[in-house]
C-alpha cells in the first residue's frame, strides 16, 4: 500500500507571502504616518473652522478665521517673510556647490578643511542663533565694529524692521550652506571621470565644463539640496525665536512662528486661528510637496 502523499496544504501566509510581506514591513510606517501626519492634517483643517481656546467649548465659526487672516497685517508680514526665506535661503545651494568644488581636491589635510566647513551644520540652530545675535549686536557686535573700519554703521541689524529678516536668513545660510556642500561633495565623487576627460578633449574648460558637464551630473544632489533647503526655509522657527522672538514689533515673524504665537505661546491660545495659519502654511508646502513627488515619479518612470 502506498499512500499518495499529498503535498501538505500551505498556509494562507505562505501562499501570499510575496504579496503580503512588503505590506507587513510597511505597516508600522504607514500606521505612524497615518496617526501622526495624515490624521493631524485633517484635524488641523477641522479646528481651523472653530473658535477654540484649547480649554472650553469649541464654537463653529465657519470661514471666519480665514476672513480675519485676509485682513490681518501681521499675517501679511509673516507671509511675505516666508517668501523672502524661500527665495534667499536657496542661495545656500550655489554657495554650497562652490565650496564643494573648491574643496574637491587632493591636498594634505583636505579632510580637516572639509570638516571645518561642515562644522556649522553640526551646531544646534539655537547656538547659531545666539552666535549671530552677538555678531549683530548694535554696539559691541563684530559686524558693527567691522563696518566702523570702513566708516559705516553702526547698523542694528536685528533691531531694524527692514533688515532683521535678512539678518536671520544670513544666519540660517551658514549651516545650510555647509549641508549643501556635503551633498555636493558626495555628488562630485560620483562624477564620471571619463566624461570629464572626453569633454576636456573636446576643449571644454572653466565655466563651460562646469555648466554643461559637471552640473548635469550633479542633478540628484541638486534635487536633494533643493528639497532640504525648501523644507529648511519653511521650518525656520528656532532661529527667529532665538534671535528676535518675532520682533521688532512682529516684523520677522514667519507663518510657523505666527502660528505658534497665536496658538501656543504665553498670550496665544486661539487654536482655531492658529490652525487656520497652519492650513495656509500647509497649502504652500503642498505646492512644493506636489512638485517633489511629481519629479520623483517622473524620474522613476524614466528609468
Amino acid at each position: 500500500m502506498t499512500t499518495t502523499s499529498e503535498p501538505r496544504p500551505r498556509g494562507w501566509y505562505k501562499r501570499n507571502e510575496i504579496a503580503v510581506t512588503p505590506w507587513l514591513f510597511l505597516a508600522p510606517a504607514i500606521l505612524f504616518f497615518l496617526v501622526y501626519v495624515i490624521f493631524p492634517i485633517f484635524q488641523s483643517i477641522n479646528i481651523s473652522f472653530y473658535d477654540w481656546d484649547g480649554l472650553g467649548e469649541a464654537r463653529w465659526v465657519g470661514f471666519d478665521n480665514y476672513v480675519e487672516l485676509a485682513d490681518d497685517s501681521a499675517f501679511e508680514v509673516s507671509l511675505w517673510n516666508n517668501f523672502k526665506w524661500l527665495i534667499f535661503y536657496l542661495l545656500a545651494i550655489p554657495a554650497g556647490l562652490f565650496i564643494a568644488l573648491f574643496l574637491n581636491q587632493t591636498v594634505t589635510g583636505i579632510r580637516i578643511y572639509k570638516s571645518l566647513f561642515f562644522f556649522p551644520f553640526v551646531l544646534s540652530q539655537v547656538v547659531v542663533g545666539l552666535v549671530f545675535s552677538w555678531f549683530y549686536l548694535p554696539n559691541e557686535g563684530l559686524l558693527s565694529n567691522a563696518l566702523a573700519w570702513f566708516g559705516l554703521g553702526p547698523l542694528n541689524v536685528l533691531g531694524d524692521p527692514t533688515w532683521a529678516t535678512y539678518g536671520i536668513i544670513a544666519a540660517g545660510l551658514w549651516p545650510q550652506t555647509a549641508y549643501c556642500m556635503i551633498l555636493y561633495l558626495t555628488g562630485l565623487n560620483a562624477v564620471d571621470p571619463e566624461q570629464v576627460e572626453a569633454a576636456r578633449l573636446d576643449g571644454a574648460k572653466g565655466w563651460k565644463m562646469l555648466w554643461y558637464v559637471i552640473i548635469p551630473q550633479l542633478k540628484p544632489a541638486t534635487f536633494i539640496a533643493f528639497v532640504v533647503t525648501i523644507i529648511g526655509a519653511l521650518r525656520s522657527f528656532d532661529l527667529i525665536s532665538i534671535m528676535t522672538n518675532g520682533g521688532p514689533f512682529g516684523q520677522t515673524r514667519v507663518l510657523s512662528f505666527y502660528m505658534f504665537e497665536k496658538a501656543l505661546s504665553e498670550y496665544g491660545f486661539r487654536m482655531g486661528y492658529g490652525a487656520a495659519i497652519a492650513v495656509v502654511l500647509f497649502l504652500i508646502m503642498l505646492m512644493f510637496i506636489a512638485y517633489f513627488l511629481f519629479s520623483m515619479y517622473r524620474e522613476e518612470k524614466g528609468r
Binding site: P138, P248, F269
Partner: protein, 421 residues
C-alpha cells in the same frame, strides 16, 4: 538612610512650629501632595523647596512630590497639566491671568479658605485680585512693587532730586540726557517692559479707574485721553530718554546700562534689585522713587503683581492642598519666604513682618499708604492676553517709531473690537 534623621528633625520642626503658627500645625496629614512650581530661578526655587521642607517636617507621613518647571515653559504647560494629569497645588498669577482657567472650570473655588478668619482678616488687601464672580480661586504668596529704580550717585552728581511731579521728571531727564547718559534703560525685546511704562503713564495721566475701564474694553484706543498718555510718552522718547536699540535686549540685558552708568534709571519691579546689587551697585548708589504725578488731582495708583497658589479642579488630594495653602499664607511663613535672603518681596499677610530692606520698606510704605487710587496687577495681567500681546507689540513699535502712532492705535482698536465682543 534619609528617614533616620527625618524623625528627630520632624519632631524639632513640630516643636518650633507649634510655638509659632497655631493655625498651620494642626493634625498631621497623611497621603499624597503633588506640587507644581514655576519658581525656576535659583533663589525662588531654594525658597520654595525650603518652605515645602518645613511643611514636610510638620507632616512627616505626608508624601510630598514637588516638580519645578521652567517659568516660561510653565506658562504653556499649565494648560496640559490642568486638564490631564493635575497636581494638587500649582503656582500661577492673579487677576485676568487666571480667568481662562477659572472660566474653564480648571481651578478649585477656595472661597471657603477665605471665610476662615485667619485668612479673611489678614489677606484682605489681595482679596480683590483673587476674586472672579465673587468667589476666590486661589491664595497669593508674594507680591512686589513697581517704580523707578535710579542711580542716586548720578542724580547727586548732576544735582538732581527725586521728582515730585511730571515737570521735574522731565527736567531731570533732560539734565541726564545732556550729561551724555540715557535717562532710562529698558529692554523691550520681550515686550512686557514697555507695558509697565504704559501702565504708569496711563494711570498717572488718566487715573486708575480709567485704566481698568480700558482693561475691561470700554475705552477706544483712539480715544483722546489715550492719545494724551501717548503724547506724554512721546515727550520722553523725543528727548532721548531711553537707551538706543532697546528692542534688541531682554530686561536682564538692559541692566548693564544702569550698572555702567550709561543710564540713570529703570522703571521695573522690585526683582531688579537683586541682580543690580549682585552686579556691584551698593545701596548708596541705588535708590527708588514712586512714579510721580502727571495730571494733578489724579490719585496715585501702583502696579503690584501678585503671584499665587491654586488648587486645580482635578486635584486628587484637595484637603492636603488646602492645608498647604493655609500654611503658605500663614504669617510666619510669609515673613520667612519674602525676606531679603529668600524672595526679597512683600508678604501678603498683614501680620507678617516686612524684612528690613530699604526697597522692601519703601515699597511696603508706598503700597499701603501712598496708593489711594488702587493697585493694579500689571498690563499683561489686567488686560486680556490677546489684547495685551498686540498692545505691547504696539508700544514697542511706538517707542522705536513714534510717528507710527495713528497706525498703531487704529490696529489696536480693531483688535479691541474683536477681543471684547
Amino acid at each position: 538612610m534619609e528617614f533616620k534623621w527625618k524623625a528627630p528633625l520632624a519632631a524639632l520642626g513640630l516643636a518650633v512650629l507649634s510655638a509659632g503658627s497655631i493655625n498651620a500645625a494642626g493634625h498631621a496629614l497623611t497621603g499624597d501632595l503633588k506640587i507644581f512650581l514655576d519658581t525656576s530661578n535659583p533663589a525662588p526655587r531654594a525658597t520654595m523647596e525650603a518652605m515645602i521642607g518645613r511643611f514636610q517636617e510638620m507632616h512627616p507621613d505626608l508624601n510630598i512630590e514637588t516638580t519645578v518647571i521652567d517659568r516660561e515653559a510653565y506658562k504653556t504647560q499649565i494648560r496640559n497639566f490642568l486638564t490631564a494629569d493635575s497636581p494638587d497645588v500649582a503656582t500661577w498669577y492673579a487677576a485676568n491671568r487666571m480667568r481662562p482657567y477659572v472660566e474653564a472650570g480648571l481651578f478649585e473655588d477656595v472661597s471657603d479658605l477665605w471665610m476662615e478668619p485667619e485668612i479673611a482678616e489678614n489677606l484682605a488687601s489681595t482679596k480683590g485680585a483673587m476674586t472672579i464672580d465673587d468667589k476666590q480661586w486661589g491664595v497669593p504668596y508674594t507680591y512686589y512693587q513697581w517704580g523707578v529704580y535710579y542711580r542716586k550717585d548720578i542724580y547727586e552728581e548732576l544735582g538732581l532730586n527725586e521728582p515730585a511731579n511730571w515737570d521735574e521728571f522731565k527736567s531731570n531727564c533732560e539734565a541726564i540726557v545732556a550729561s551724555g547718559r540715557a535717562c532710562f534703560t529698558i529692554g523691550s525685546k520681550f515686550l512686557w517692559t514697555a507695558g509697565g511704562w504704559f501702565d504708569y503713564l496711563n494711570v498717572r495721566t488718566n487715573g486708575f479707574d480709567f485704566h481698568m475701564d480700558m482693561a475691561a474694553g470700554n475705552v477706544a484706543w483712539t480715544d483722546d485721553r489715550v492719545r494724551a498718555t501717548f503724547a506724554n510718552w512721546r515727550e520722553l522718547i523725543d528727548m532721548g530718554a531711553y537707551v538706543a536699540n532697546h528692542q534688541n535686549y531682554s530686561w536682564q540685558e538692559a541692566l548693564p546700562f544702569m550698572v555702567n552708568g550709561e543710564a540713570a534709571g529703570y522703571l521695573m519691579g522690585n526683582f531688579a534689585v537683586a541682580p543690580l546689587r549682585e552686579a556691584g551697585l551698593s545701596d548708596d548708589q541705588l535708590d527708588f522713587f514712586q512714579f510721580p504725578v502727571i495730571t494733578e488731582g489724579v490719585p496715585l495708583a501702583e502696579d503690584a503683581p501678585t503671584d499665587t497658589f491654586h488648587i486645580p479642579a482635578n486635584a486628587q488630594n484637595k484637603d492636603n492642598a488646602r492645608a498647604f495653602l493655609r500654611f503658605v499664607v500663614s504669617a510666619d511663613e510669609q515673613t520667612e519666604i519674602n525676606s531679603g535672603k529668600n524672595l526679597g518681596q512683600l508678604p501678603i499677610n498683614a501680620k507678617s513682618a516686612v524684612d528690613n530692606d530699604k526697597f522692601l520698606n519703601e515699597g511696603f510704605a508706598m503700597l499701603s499708604s501712598n496708593s489711594p487710587g488702587g493697585v493694579a496687577q500689571f498690563f499683561d495681567r489686567d488686560f486680556p492676553a490677546e489684547m495685551a500681546a498686540e498692545a505691547m507689540q504696539g508700544f514697542q513699535e511706538f517707542m522705536v517709531f513714534p510717528d507710527n502712532l495713528d497706525e498703531i492705535l487704529n490696529r489696536l482698536e480693531k483688535v479691541r473690537a474683536r477681543v471684547y465682543k
